[in-house]
């Protein structure tokens, strides 16, 4: 249901607040524990969770997210298990949930079946890193049939002509990648990020959030000055990968994410 985007994102943005989106890996550090992490993020006030569906060869991701994908697979995350975890999260929250990953596990499961079961489980949108808008026809048809949004990345290299094509197909939000590169934390943001986001915002009518490399409240504030929101992934995922009791991991996440959510207000 893309309505959850309109409700949650619409409410926040109409109050002049910005969005905070969190990415975590399914099945990290364990199956039930990843649900606990998600629900902790909900309690901390995040506006959307991108729940990573693991793939063995995530070449758009850095070392942290690759390690998380390996752990998720090792812990038994298959598509049906993934939907079980989503159902458990959905039972406790109405924020938008995004299935985030790579295409092969989805195609192997069957697009139509994936979209139907994703909708039943409570997924609002699908974003697959290796499905650019040119290759999105089948995915879009299957998702549209079951009321799920398909959304896309935009990049610093995306020219205006491609933005138009992405704008025509993206629903819910657009995720602008802050730099050319893979996921992972960085110390400073690109000088041209503001003007890039302006270009994306002029092309699309839905919220534009910015991610890749964000990990500090200052970076979130910097991004929220020109974008509709910020995405933080690797910094959270790194904490979920620690060899610590779940309660200690949740404590670390509270310390990290609390100030980040505040920064987006």
């Amino acid at each position: 249901m893309s309505d959850r985007f309109e409700i949650r994102f619409g409410q926040k943005l109409s109050k002049g607040q910005k969005l905070f989106v969190a990415y975590i890996g399914a099945g990290v550090p364990g199956l039930e524990e990843s649900v606990e992490v998600a629900l902790e993020l909900v309690r901390l006030g995040v506006d959307c969770i991108e729940f990573g569906l693991p793939f063995s060869d995530p070449y758009g991701d850095g070392a942290v997210n690759q390690a998380a994908a390996e752990m998720g697979i090792k812990n038994g995350v298959t598509v049906p298990v993934y939907f079980d975890l989503i159902r458990k999260i959905r039972a406790k929250t109405e924020i938008p949930l995004v299935a985030f990953g790579y295409s092969n596990p989805v195609w192997q499961y069957g697009l139509e079946k994936f979209a139907r079961e994703a909708a039943e489980a409570g997924i609002d949108a699908v974003l697959l890193v290796d499905i650019p808008v040119e290759e999105s026809d089948e995915l879009d048809r299957a998702c549209a049939k079951h009321g799920i949004a398909t959304t896309f990345l935009t990049a610093p290299t995306t020219p205006a002509k491609r933005l138009e094509a992405i704008a025509a197909r993206a629903r819910g939000f657009v995720y602008h990648v802050s730099r050319t590169g893979v996921t992972g934390e960085q110390s400073s943001l690109s000088q041209t990020l503001g003007s890039e986001v302006q270009l994306v915002k002029s092309a699309v009518k839905i919220p534009v959030v910015v991610g890749f490399g964000l990990s500090t409240p200052d970076q979130v504030r910097e991004v929220c000055a020109f974008a509709d929101g910020a995405v933080v992934g690797s910094a959270i995922v790194r904490r979920t990968l620690q060899d610590k009791p779940t309660q200690a991991i949740l404590q670390d996440i509270r310390e990290l994410v609390g100030p980040l959510v505040e920064a987006a207000r």
Partner: protein, 406 residues
């Protein structure tokens, strides 16, 4: 066993993929958004270069004077006599400068890099032959060169690592995943995603997102174009059968393409490894199914959840989980037969060609030799079986010595 095309006697190959970069259902551009403009730029540069006489003349000049083309065809008389059956003829890509067919593609792409005004080149390599070829082309054209190679492969192909360094390249060992070819491709993709504005990724085989499968095929077609003319000149007829090993598939598509319209049986030989059980081989057409991987839709070794399986082959260059899109199409339309040879057969073929003909074939090419050895008797003495010796085996001496000790 030549299969006629749907429109009668002549098979219709695809001169180029469709607008989406597909060969039938295979291929495409399954790449992250950040790379899409670079793929468009590459396609435009390639389309313009292939119509440009000056570009083609420079490329062909390098193939002649730098690579030493045409590579000869050579009748393996002792081997043919020992086996009985087909007259076995070898296409000697092992005699190319740098020791394999890979240089044909590396030079072509590096010429394009100059044309696009980029200054940095990255590449993946498995056996090291593509890495050496790319490092060589970069030395020739004064380009910065970074080669990604799985840690396991840097160990089993140590000589090639040293060669690349001597040619001025930086070799980055990859410790992710299975630490072999697919992981080297992942790391090269990560580098490309990061440095896409000034860097070109010289993909080493007829795989990956469009336009790579098409462009690499065109750079490798020189093998089959030469071989076809050489067959007619030397023997006055075409071969009955052409065989080549298939990793990503560039040497195979290169030698086969100009025979697609002919009544010639075409056989691609994949790596059977230690046997066709998951994780023990790289025979995508025997143990794989259709999937999307590293930019392309093709046959893929994967589990029921769509996770990519580990592979094994004694030859690093065939040790890869997927296969070029055009091969997937040629498989499905039935024009090319795909089979496999296991590690033992490939090692036996290596020794046999060494002792009967004085030629050490690369362990990759040894898979095609193994098929020829096993099937020579299926042919009569006036039928020619053309085998592509895609590279030379000097790089494999340590692996072969290790296998002999086991």
């Amino acid at each position: 066993m030549y299969v006629p095309g749907p429109d009668g006697n002549v098979f219709s190959p695809l001169n180029e993929p469709d607008e989406q970069g597909r060969f039938g259902n295979f291929g495409g551009k399954f790449a992250p958004e950040v790379l899409m403009p670079a793929l468009e730029e590459l396609e435009a540069a390639w389309r313009s270069a292939r119509q440009d006489h000056a570009f083609l003349a420079e490329y062909e000049g390098l193939l002649a004077d730098f690579v030493g083309r045409p590579s000869p065809i050579y009748e393996a008389k002792r081997l043919s006599r020992e086996l009985g059956g087909a007259k076995i003829v070898l296409k000697r890509e092992d005699l190319n400068h740098t020791g394999a067919h890979k240089i044909n593609n590396a030079l072509g792409q590096c010429l394009l890099v100059q044309r696009m005004g980029k200054h940095r080149v990255i590449a993946e390599t498995g056996a090291g032959q593509h890495g050496v070829a790319t490092a060589t082309a970069c030395a020739l054209f004064d380009l910065e060169c970074v080669i990604y190679m799985g840690r396991v492969d840097t160990e089993r192909q140590a000589v090639n690592v040293e060669r690349m360094k001597m040619l001025g390249a930086t070799v980055v060992p990859v410790d992710q995943g299975s630490r072999t070819l697919k992981d080297a491709v992942n790391e090269a993709m990560r580098d490309w995603v990061t440095n896409v504005r000034d860097t070109h990724y010289v993909l080493g085989t007829a795989y990956g997102p469009h336009p790579f499968p098409w462009m690499v095929r065109e750079f490798q077609r020189v093998i089959g174009r030469e071989a076809r003319a050489q067959m007619l000149a030397k023997f006055g007829k075409l071969p009955t059968c052409v065989t080549a090993c298939v990793g990503g598939g560039s040497n195979a598509i290169g030698i086969m393409w100009d025979f697609l319209k002919d009544p010639v049986r075409l056989v691609g030989v994949e790596a059977g490894g230690r046997g066709i059980t998951p994780g023990e081989h790289a025979a995508r057409f025997s143990g794989g199914s259709v999937g999307i991987f590293q930019g392309s839709k093709s046959y893929l070794l994967q589990d029921e959840n769509g996770q990519v399986l580990g592979t094994h082959s004694v030859s690093a260059g065939l040790d890869y989980a997927s296969v070029g899109a055009e091969h997937a199409w040629l498989h499905d339309v039935g024009r090319v037969e795909y089979t496999f040879a296991d590690d033992t057969a490939a090692l036996d073929a290596f020794h046999r060609l060494a002792r009967t003909e004085g030629i050490l074939p690369a362990l990759e090419s040894s898979h095609a030799v193994a098929w020829a050895i096993a099937h020579a008797k299926d042919f009569t003495a006036d039928e020619i079986l053309l085998v592509n010796i895609s590279g030379r085996g000097d790089k494999d001496i340590h692996t072969v010595m290790g296998a002999a000790r086991v």
